[in-house]
Amino acid sequence: MATSSTTGRTTGEVRVNGEARRLDLDSRVTLLDMLRDHLGLTGTKKGCDQGACGACTVHLDGRPVVSCLVLAAQCDGREVRTVESLARDGRLHPLQEAFIRHDGFQCGFCTPGQLMSAAALLAQRRASSADEVREAMSGNLCRCGAYPNIVAAIRDVAEQNGTAGDGGPGAARNGAA
């Protein structure tokens, strides 16, 4: 995006969930607030605005980021995917189905972030054991305490589609979701 120091505005184009979006924003707007306040994608949640809770996790060029710590101005020409893109053609993503089946949420507020982190985890083949999942998911807080069910849901999907990984040093860490 182009940012003007005189107008304090930033302009550019971001692909969000596969769709090109032209934006003209206050340059202070974060990726999180861009999604929520300017694109109406309120599925991504703000739990701290300080990068500490993981509720705002989205994929930026295929990598999980906490969108509260990314400025919209940093996203020009880049690809963003949010929880709204997980289901395709009206069919839930296997992780979404597994979260429902295992009751991997209560209030549901952290769920979009948990799902996006979990999707990245599977793409990176880092779900070889419950302990590996717990470690890798520890940036996503859940105050309702649904952790055991979230871990079970992720492990279930990993086992089903063979994306558990061996947890070894060769496991890819930068794969796209």
Partner: protein, 734 residues
């Protein structure tokens, strides 16, 4: 009509009916609502803990780009005081005058066109204070202390004489750090006025109270206020008050004649919406050397904000926890220059349970008896205070089943007898007797020509599963599939409901739904009373049953018809019925209504040199009466256990010497993360409760209560060190 309680304990583990919305990001939480032309508010908070505002300069903020107004005590209109609720008076309004009573008190609210503009301008408000010395700390001699502030102190028997005559005289003091609820959802208020009426999306666990509060404060009839909370990003008690920030958002929207959104920041979540107060407890217990508990004296001091009130009944559960012949409780409440505390999941019980169940563990070691055996010996076969039989009590089964699943019998008694390399391993347990609480609830149930039902109630689902269990219960009562029941909650225009709190909503709401369903079936039978073409003509409620979407004769399922046929024939679009449950025990009841019971078992690993504590196993056996949905109920219990892990090992809101919270972020205030939580074991035991028709007892909080003591007892078993102060951080073990 058959009664709901079929005697089976566990309801079908149906997936949450709101699950699809929650995993797709489609569930609307209060902060997700927006309106065209909406303005955004940001708060300015006091940087001192006590004193007065000497001067307040808003000029810089007012000329900043996009700023619409700045509201302070100097220009805020006078507002009425909020109402008294069933958990105490409303919070003090901070812009009523220039006094500062705690660090982080709201002193101004800046409203601008965008959130970025409001946030920036909030930093331009200049406030100067005449600072006074704050009164801080639960034991501070300068703090005004209320005696018996809740009117809940109790006494039976001659406690002092019994203590003096006891072979074993236990007398210890416990401390608990303040904790902060920290629901993940930042509390938000979106207010929109239109023609003298206001619609408010507010992070409330209690829409009816929020409506009443806003109506009272702004001098409106309750019918002019609508509070909507279809989904809430957790509350854990923080949503049980209508907080000043919500009032300020409604006020700003009225002054600007525009919708206003105010979302708290995470640091503001520490100072604006309550917390579990710091507490100190002294527990004296007299026992015989063969393990009979003779007397207990329990004194507890909690904190409140200056000129505020909070109910933290720490000693409440003690008199009826065991069959001690003599018991006395004493409650104290110290006023400090701190943000007012509030309810946090299992208020009172969580603190009291930690002290009581730690004390029993200590006594068991003093007399050389297994901790579980000591509890069994003192089990309250009848309700101790009244001598009445319990409406249900499966605590013995909790102990038995929990111990079996955990493998308690294999535990060596001696502390420091289990080890895995550098890690000392220990096992501990605790029992829980939770108090029963519930308030009046109403619900409306209707069935339309599509044969589907709609249940409506003002109560909220804060993640507990209320939508789902309500649908399941209505389906069972009306003979429908769960998919045929729609549930509308979280709207103060719907039939009145109490808070989603105190483990009371499921009990009250299930009773109201049961009553409404009964009235609805009666309405259908009334409709065909003189209908010659109906096989149900002239039949009464006790002659019929419902299955497969049909009302039929109980003794002849072939004689009946479905709801749609009746509505069709009589030209009705739907039939609607209201229900109400007053769950308070009537005078002269021959049983003691029981709350939930539990036995909880913990295994910890403590690093011998570093003092790190890890929970390796945690198990709960719970008697919650009839469980409406095994899946969501288990989730409630594991979630409570996770909160218990935090209370035991991690959570501490740290006030510095100036009264500022020094760790008011989620990076500094530690709550359990994935890696802190092992697999958790939950078993439900017991049967439907005898006092209410549905057989439900609340289970939202019971799972917290025994965990801190079970962990502390396990730490003792691992290390030989008895820690009577929470959280058990590594510095206390080095």
């Amino acid at each position: 009509m058959t009664a709901v309680s079929s005697g089976k304990l566990l309801g079908e583990p149906v997936d949450r009916i709101d699950g699809h919305l929650k995993v797709t990001g489609g569930a609307p939480y209060p902060s997700d609502f927006s309106y065209p032309d909406m303005a955004h508010a940001a708060l300015v908070q006091s940087t001192v803990a006590a004193g007065t505002i000497r001067s307040l300069d808003t000029a810089g903020a007012l000329v900043a780009p996009g700023v619409l107004t700045v509201i302070t005590h100097e220009n805020a209109p006078a507002l009425a005081e909020g109402p008294m609720t069933n958990i105490g008076p409303s919070p003090r309004f901070p812009l009523a005058d220039n006094r500062i009573l705690h660090h982080g008190q709201h002193v101004a609210v800046v409203v601008a066109e965008t959130p970025e503009q409001a946030r920036d301008a909030a930093r331009l408000v200049r406030v100067e204070y005449d600072e006074a010395a704050p009164v801080l700390g639960v034991g501070n001699p300068d703090a005004p202390v209320l005696t018996d502030p809740y009117g809940m102190e109790s006494s039976r028997g001659d406690v002092e004489a019994a203590l003096a005559a006891s072979d074993v005289q236990y007398d210890e003091t416990f401390h608990m750090a303040p904790e902060t609820n920290n629901p993940l959802g930042l509390f938000a208020t979106v207010a929109r006025w239109e023609d003298g009426r206001v619609t408010v999306h507010d992070s409330s666990q209690w829409p009816a109270m929020a409506r009443q509060s806003i109506a009272t404060v702004f001098g409106l009839p309750e019918s002019a206020v609508r509070v909507l909370v279809p989904y809430l990003g957790g509350g854990f008690g923080a949503g049980l008050r209508t907080w000043p920030h919500a009032i300020l958002a409604v006020l700003a929207a009225r002054m600007l004649e525009r919708p206003v959104k105010l979302v708290l920041t995470r640091p503001q979540m520490f100072t604006s919406v309550g917390h579990r107060p710091e507490s100190v407890q002294r527990l004296r217990i007299g026992a015989t050397t063969d393990g009979r508990l003779l007397a207990v004296d329990h004194e507890a001091t909690a904190t409140r904000g200056a000129e505020e009130m909070n109910i933290e009944p720490i000693t409440m559960g003690t008199p009826d926890a065991y069959a001690w012949p003599s018991a006395a409780t004493h409650d104290r409440l110290a006023a400090l220059n701190i943000p007012n505390p509030g309810a946090m999941r299992a208020p009172g019980h969580a603190e009291g349970g930690f002290a009581l169940e730690s004390a029993l563990d200590e006594i068991s070691y003093r007399i050389g008896m297994d901790p579980l055996e000591l509890r069994l010996r003192n089990h309250a076969e009848v309700h101790p205070s009244t001598g009445l039989p319990w409406s249900s009590n499966a605590l013995r089964d909790c102990y038995r089943v929990g111990a079996e699943r955990f493998g308690w019998s294999a535990r060596p008694a001696e502390p420091r007898s289990l080890r895995d390399g550098a890690w000392l391993v220990g096992q501990g347990m605790a029992g829980v007797t939770f108090s029963r609480w519930a308030a009046v609830c109403r619900a409306q149930v209707s069935v339309g020509r599509d044969g589907a039902a709609l249940v409506r109630c003002a109560g909220t689902d804060i993640g507990t599963g209320t939508y789902t269990i309500t649908a399941q219960l209505a389906a069972e009562l009306l003979g429908l599939d769960v998919e045929q029941v729609r549930v509308e909650l979280g709207d103060s225009d719907l039939p009145l409901a109490p808070q989603s709190g105190g483990s009371g909503l499921a009990l009250a709401l299930s009773g109201a739904v049961e009553d409404a369903a009964r009235n609805l079936l009666r309405a259908f039978l009334d409709t065909v009373r003189d209908d010659d073409s109906s096989p149900l003509r002239g039949r009464s409620l006790d002659e019929v049953a419902v299955t497969g979407g049909r009302i039929h004769l109980a003794n002849d399922p072939s004689a009946g018809e479905d709801y749609a046929a009746i509505l069709d024939r009589h030209g009705l679009r739907e039939l609607v019925a209201d229900g109400e449950k007053d769950p308070s025990p009537p005078e002269g009841l021959s049983m003691a209504p029981a709350g939930a019971f539990a036995a909880q078992f913990a295994e910890v690993r403590v690093h011998e040199e570093l003092g790190i504590v890890r929970v390796s196993r945690l198990a709960s056996a719970v008697d919650a009466g009839r469980v409406l949905n095994e899946k969501t109920a288990r989730s409630q219990v594991i979630g409570a256990m996770v909160l218990g892990i935090g209370m035991a090992l991690l959570e501490e809101t740290s006030f510095d010497a100036g009264g500022r919270i020094a760790n008011a972020t989620l990076g500094d205030y530690l709550i359990p993360a994935h890696a802190d939580v092992p697999d958790l074991d939950v078993a439900f035991v017991g049967g439907p409760d005898a006092f209410n028709a549905v057989g439900v007892k609340g289970l939202g909080e019971v799972g917290v209560v025994g965990v801190p003591a079970a962990i502390a007892n396990a730490v003792h078993h691992a290390t030989g060190r008895r820690i009577r102060s929470l959280p058990i951080t590594l510095d206390k073990l080095l």
